[in-house]
């Protein structure tokens, strides 16, 4: 295992930047998630680390050594593909053994290593099967086992859960996390699914249009988004953003609760809205509403836990509030970067 460092990595395809000026330091044994919408450059970044693409500019350092010019096989990284890229004509055993076979490892050592990996991922009973005779989850574990036998310095996983159904995805996330802890791997995980990112990552790198928007722990990313892109990309439903003239006001749907809920608390920001539609989801209710004066009329969403019994109907004017500490402020420009509370900010 080793740490991984990207220094000012850029990659251009036909003058277009796929990724631009990426700096990232992944600690030894850390699990970092690359999160972003499709086409944001996260897969390209992973391929750059793996050596399947060469950067136009910048350096890839693994364990402190510059590996930028090395071929994929000489970087000691493992890549688990979205499709798992298993060889359909080989058995699960031979799939796992593949990296060792091409290195010419003696049969006995190879057998031990394959069995070790299969045991670790609990796929021993599948070893004689062909990939097509196994389930999605089993294929994923096979792909992991195949990457594991090489003792790679860095694990790269490209959307490994996207081929699984929602129920299995949850279980697989658990398994991945405990597997990562077990092998104490330096691990980069690409996904467009923010729940997956929040649940898995020690840190999350949010990317958009080839650039890093924010690097931080799940809490930092969620609580203190660096800009309006991160604020709306992370969180479902996204952070509410309201134009306030020279700045943008933001708050999470769940921090907006009925005024009465806060009782005697003083440092509140009051929000009056007209309810458009209520969506009952069992554990919570989403209120789709339009903000009222003195705020600009803007669409917003409030998220009310079901334990808070609330009797409201479409058309009702509701008085809600957000704790001042839960308010976020962004510059009014296109970037919408995080700013300190402006002097002009309304007091509740």
């Amino acid at each position: 295992m080793a740490d991984l460092e990207l220094k000012e990595i850029s990659k251009q395809f036909d003058q277009q930047f796929a990724v631009r000026d990426i700096n990232l330091h992944v600690q030894n044994g850390e699990l970092v998630v690359l999160l972003g919408p499709s086409g944001c450059g996260k897969s390209t970044l992973m391929r750059l680390i793996a050596g399947l693409e060469t950067p136009t500019h910048g350096q890839v350092l693994i364990g402190g050594q510059d590996k930028t010019a090395l071929r994929p096989k000489d970087r000691n990284v493992a890549l688990v593909f979205q499709s798992y890229a298993l060889y359909p004509h080989l058995s699960i055993y031979e799939n796992i053994a593949f990296p060792l076979r091409v290195r010419g490892m003696p049969d006995k050592a190879l057998d031990e290593k394959v069995l070790w990996a299969a045991r670790l991922l609990d796929i021993e009973r599948l070893l004689q099967r062909k990939p097509r005779q196994t389930s999605g989850g089993e294929r994923q574990r096979t792909a992991l086992a195949r990457s594991l036998v090489r003792d790679p310095a860095v694990f790269l996983l490209d959307e490994p859960l996207s081929n699984l159904d929602a129920k299995m995805r949850h279980a697989a996330r658990e398994e991945l996390r405990s597997f990562q802890h077990q092998v104490k791997a330096t691990w980069i995980h690409v996904t467009h699914d923010q729940t997956e990112a929040m649940g898995l990552g020690d840190r999350i790198v949010v990317m958009d249009k080839g650039q890093v928007r924010q690097i931080g722990t799940p809490t930092e990313i969620y609580q203190h988004p660096a800009d309006t892109f991160v604020a709306t990309f992370v969180g479902s439903p996204p952070m509410n953003l309201i134009e306030m003239g020279d700045h943008i006001l933001g708050f999470r749907p769940e921090s907006c609760l009925p005024r009465a809920y806060f009782e005697n608390e003083s440092d509140l920001f009051k929000i009056c809205f007209q309810l458009q539609r209520a969506e009952y989801l069992g554990n919570e209710t989403l209120l789709y509403a339009l903000t009222q004066a003195p705020l600009n009329t803007t669409k917003m969403i409030a998220r009310i836990p079901s334990t808070l019994r609330l009797d409201v109907h479409p058309g009702d004017l509701c008085e809600f509030a957000v704790r001042s500490s839960d308010l976020r402020f962004f510059s009014a420009g296109e970037d919408g970067v995080k700013i300190d509370r402006p002097a002009s900010a309304l007091r509740g």
Partner: protein, 297 residues
């Protein structure tokens, strides 16, 4: 009750829809096959009204007829020679065309051209090119100093079969390229990328990924080409007419000669029937293999 009626109606509609195909198959396939089978058991001479029944006499005759064994040997040489070379050349060129290079589109178009040129046109051009005195092939070989005297490409019994195979390969290797290229392009790229990361060399990637992916279609194409080559008539007949001295007479050519030069329809039918029997064996292997390939996918 209502259900039963609609069931009967459905069946009637299905039968009606199948009727045209059934009639066409009956007239174009079943009837000729049946009449060949019938003729093979009769002594049929062109222009004679009576067709006395002779039992298996025509088959006995065929099996003791030296030119039949000669034609069978020629057919095997023709099939194995052409298909063998076609497969090797086809796979090699498909691998080349699968690489990224400037002008790949044009290269592909050129490679497929022979397949699109009508056989008659192609054969006439080749006949001219292989002419021992006027032909461009001899001209260039002499010029290059590779041969000292003109080669009798089409008139030497020792060389004619090779010439015919060359033309056959030229005409039909694009089919192999087409089939193999289709498979090559369908192999997921990430398997190669995974192999690269795992440390596989180019050769190991070919041996362990490309080849196993190609194998099913390679086998099927080999068989299909063998079947088609087995009953190929036009190329050989137009190039050499089966000569010189029977050196390129394959079974279909022999059948033609017996039927339309010697007018011995009964014996020709027996020969045709034996040819069809041999082809059926190849066809059964083909169906068996393609079923297995389907099951694997």
């Amino acid at each position: 009750m209502r259900n039963l009626t609609s069931e009967t109606e459905n069946r009637a509609i299905a039968a009606l829809a199948l009727l045209p195909s059934f009639v066409i198959l009956l007239v174009l396939v079943a009837l000729p096959t049946f009449s060949v089978a019938l003729y093979s058991l009769q002594d049929v001479q062109m222009g004679e009204a009576s067709h006395p029944f002779v039992g298996l006499e025509n088959f006995q005759w065929a099996l003791s007829y030296a030119p039949f064994w000669n034609a069978l040997t020629n057919t095997l040489v023709w099939v194995f020679g052409s298909v063998g070379i076609e497969m090797v050349v086809g796979v090699f060129i498909a691998l080349l065309l699968n690489k990224n290079f400037v002008g790949r589109g044009i290269a592909r178009a050129i490679v497929f051209a022979p397949y699109l040129i009508p056989t008659v046109v192609a054969v006439l051009v080749w006949r001219y090119m292989f002419h021992d005195v006027l032909g461009v092939v001899n001209y260039f070989l002499l010029k290059a100093g590779w041969i000292n005297e003109p080669v009798n490409w089409l008139s030497s019994p020792k060389i004619a079969m090779m010439t015919v195979i060359i033309v056959g390969v030229w005409k039909f290797f694009p089919f192999v390229v087409l089939a193999i290229l289709g498979v090559l392009q369908a192999i997921p790229q990430d398997q190669y990328e995974a192999a690269k990361i795992d440390g596989a060399s180019e050769w190991q990637q070919f041996w362990r990924i490309t080849l196993p992916h190609l194998m099913p279609i390679f086998l099927l194409t080999t068989l299909l080409r063998s079947i088609w080559t087995f009953h190929k008539f036009d190329i050989i007949y137009l190039l050499t007419g089966g000569g010189p001295v029977g050196s390129t007479t394959t079974l279909p050519v022999l059948v033609y000669q017996k039927a339309f030069a010697d007018f011995e329809i009964g014996r020709a039918s027996a020969l045709a029937f034996i040819t069809a029997f041999l082809l059926t064996i190849l066809l059964l292997i083909y169906f068996y293999l393609s079923k297995r390939v389907e099951a694997r996918q």
